[in-house]
């Protein structure tokens, strides 16, 4: 197995995002995640800069790297042209590739995202789809969305959209052949490998947590439920 330091360096985005940090704190100063969590993008950059295998291993298994909201406000301000947000992407990638992500609560949530956004991507050709923004999981969407959701055929039709139908237009059905191309691109460019890694490590974690069926196989419905109700430790 390659050292994680090397795995980070193999990602071209580390070269893009990591110049050299002088610890000025300009990134943390505007970071929405730093205001909300015990989170300090500066110290993550410093840890990656150190090249210390142990420190980076620690990051990969921590909640910390999953706190970034990817707004990239840090990129605009850095006086050394670093991009902490993109360094985070590289850490997350390696965390998922090595399975380290299942060791943290926030990391484990990648399974949920893969099963929702990921599934939407290949099923609909969209990251989100009206039928996937269900009312139970989205109370914050309010009564107007509830109305849209429950009457979506009529509402989208009135607005000249083309919901789930062939041809051009908003929310059109993406043709089978186009969806197929998307799926083959996934297969060809490493998307599938990533998902297999998320799936395998999540299943192992489910077994470790005892979330199994009568045959001892991981029960991913239980695991999903577990992830949705896991208490924050911080």
């Amino acid at each position: 197995m390659k050292m994680v330091v090397q795995q980070l360096a193999d990602d071209v985005r580390l070269k893009e995002g990591m110049n050299a940090c002088m610890n000025c704190g300009i990134c943390t100063a505007v970071c929405p995640a730093a205001e909300y969590f015990e989170y300090d993008p500066r110290s993550i950059v410093v840890a990656v800069q150190s090249g210390n295998e142990e420190k980076i291993q620690q990051l990969l298994t921590s909640d910390t790297i999953w706190m970034c909201g990817q707004c990239m406000s840090c990129k605009t301000r850095c006086p050394r042209s670093n991009c902490p947000g993109i360094i985070i992407n590289v850490l997350r990638k390696v965390s998922q590739a090595t399975g380290a992500f299942v060791q943290s609560r926030l990391g484990r949530q990648q399974y949920l995202i893969m099963k929702t956004i990921g599934a939407n991507l290949l099923r609909y050709g969209y990251c989100i789809h009206p039928s996937a923004v269900d009312i139970q999981n989205h109370p914050e969407q309010g009564p107007v969305w509830e109305w849209v959701y429950s009457n979506r055929e009529e509402v989208y039709e009135r607005l000249g959209a083309n919901l789930d139908r062939e041809g051009p237009g908003a929310m059109r059905k993406i043709a089978t052949n186009d969806l197929l191309e998307l799926a083959v691109i996934f297969e060809q460019s490493g998307g599938t490998v990533l998902w297999q890694s998320i799936e395998t490590h999540s299943k192992n974690k489910a077994i470790e947590l005892g979330l199994v069926d009568s045959q001892g196989n991981p029960c991913m419905d239980l695991y999903t439920n577990y992830l949705l109700n896991e208490d924050p430790e911080f």
């Binding site: 990239m72 990921g118 969209y126 009564p143 009457n151 009135r158 959209a161 460019s189 998320i198």
Partner: protein, 353 residues
């Protein structure tokens, strides 16, 4: 005080193509504001006489997946390469992107290809093997708001309405919120740069309104990708949105203008959610501060029927704004289907009952 639209903006004078566009739709915009994309295309082709290709074969750019890290960078590049290949096949060179995250993503990929040509070769190979397609890098990539910005004066000339309170004659006070990925990743790709982005304020001024600055103008709306998308994480999202509302409230804005599909939705919905939690709104009424995207606003000013462009999909009602602007609308037509048959309306609209 000097307005946000100071003249010393030549630093960020970006090139925006003038015609012959290829439209790249937004997952979130289509999902929550399909009427906005519809009216954008209509303004462009019917009012401004420009040509734009609305190609049914393009898909999501996978940007939300990319920024939630379930789509690898290689895959993201190959999917974007596929969109470029579709453009090439149609002979299009000027991309118009509806989504802000896509816009940032396209530029991220292009910048990567410039600096690391082997990444481009990899994307070419991945796309070729997967689909047999080839692509060229587009000549120009604009966000849809750039196009409206470019033609803002023309729109002003065609518009029967203005951003003016018809009762007092005063310009309406408009705060803007620029999506993070429009300007923050590549400031030189944004009209006005990242710190004093002028793409929306210039529209506000051209259309008779008054752009109003507020301290947290540059703060993220709070989407946070995984923080909104995973239900238990949503408090991150709402608390960042709250920071913005708290900051803009003292300026008593008539309207929040956005250029990002996600921000447009969140700034609308979180006002409702916060009102339900805290029992208060950030406006002087129970409705909340109306939120519009640039296409929705341009459509309104140009005289499109508010319900044809989808404003009934907003939780915060637009009617108070329509009244202020003197825009005629039919209250009963709001909740009708395409056949004109009345539908059961939502349980309630606005922020507080």
């Amino acid at each position: 005080m000097k307005t946000l639209n100071s003249d010393n903006q030549q630093l960020f004078d970006k090139e925006i193509a003038g015609d012959d566009y290829y439209y790249l739709r937004s997952c979130i915009r289509q999902n929550f504001f399909p009427g906005a994309e519809k009216v954008f295309l209509d303004i462009l082709t019917q009012k401004l006489g420009r040509k734009i290709i609305d190609d049914e074969h393009h898909t999501t750019c996978s940007g939300i997946g990319y920024h939630t890290d379930i789509v690898p960078f290689d895959t993201f590049q190959a999917i974007i390469a596929r969109q470029f290949a579709l453009m090439k096949e149609k002979g299009a060179v000027n991309a118009v992107v509806s989504c802000i995250t896509s816009f940032g993503g396209y530029h991220e990929v292009l910048e990567t290809w410039k600096e690391f040509p082997e990444e481009k070769r990899k994307a070419q190979e991945n796309l070729k093997k997967a689909t047999g397609r080839d692509f060229d890098v587009p000549k120009n990539i604009a966000h849809a708001c750039d196009i409206i910005y470019k033609y803002r004066h023309e729109i002003a000339r065609l518009a029967p309405y203005k951003l003016v309170n018809t009762h007092t004659g005063e310009p309406l006070r408009v705060v803007d919120h620029v999506g993070c990925h429009y300007a923050k990743i590549f400031p030189d790709k944004a009209v006005g740069g990242a710190e004093k982005t002028t793409v929306l304020t210039a529209m506000i001024e051209a259309w008779g309104g008054q752009p109003v600055n507020y301290p947290e103008r540059r703060h993220c709306c709070g989407f946070g990708f995984r923080h909104y998308l995973v239900k238990p994480n949503r408090s991150y999202s709402i608390s960042n949105a709250r920071k913005k509302f708290e900051s803009m409230q003292p300026y008593r804005p008539d309207l929040i203008l956005t250029n990002c599909p996600g921000c447009n939705m969140f700034l609308d919905r979180w006002q409702y959610a916060l009102a339900q939690i805290e029992g208060k709104t950030y406006s002087d009424d129970k409705n909340g501060i109306p939120v519009l995207s640039y296409e929705e606003l341009a459509g309104l000013l140009l005289g499109y029927d508010p319900w044809h462009i989808g404003l009934q999909m907003h939780q915060v009602d637009l009617e108070p704004l329509l009244k202020r602007m003197g825009i005629a609308y039919s209250a009963e037509a709001k909740y009708r289907n395409a056949k004109g048959i009345p539908m059961t309306p939502p349980k309630f609209t606005g922020c507080l009952e």
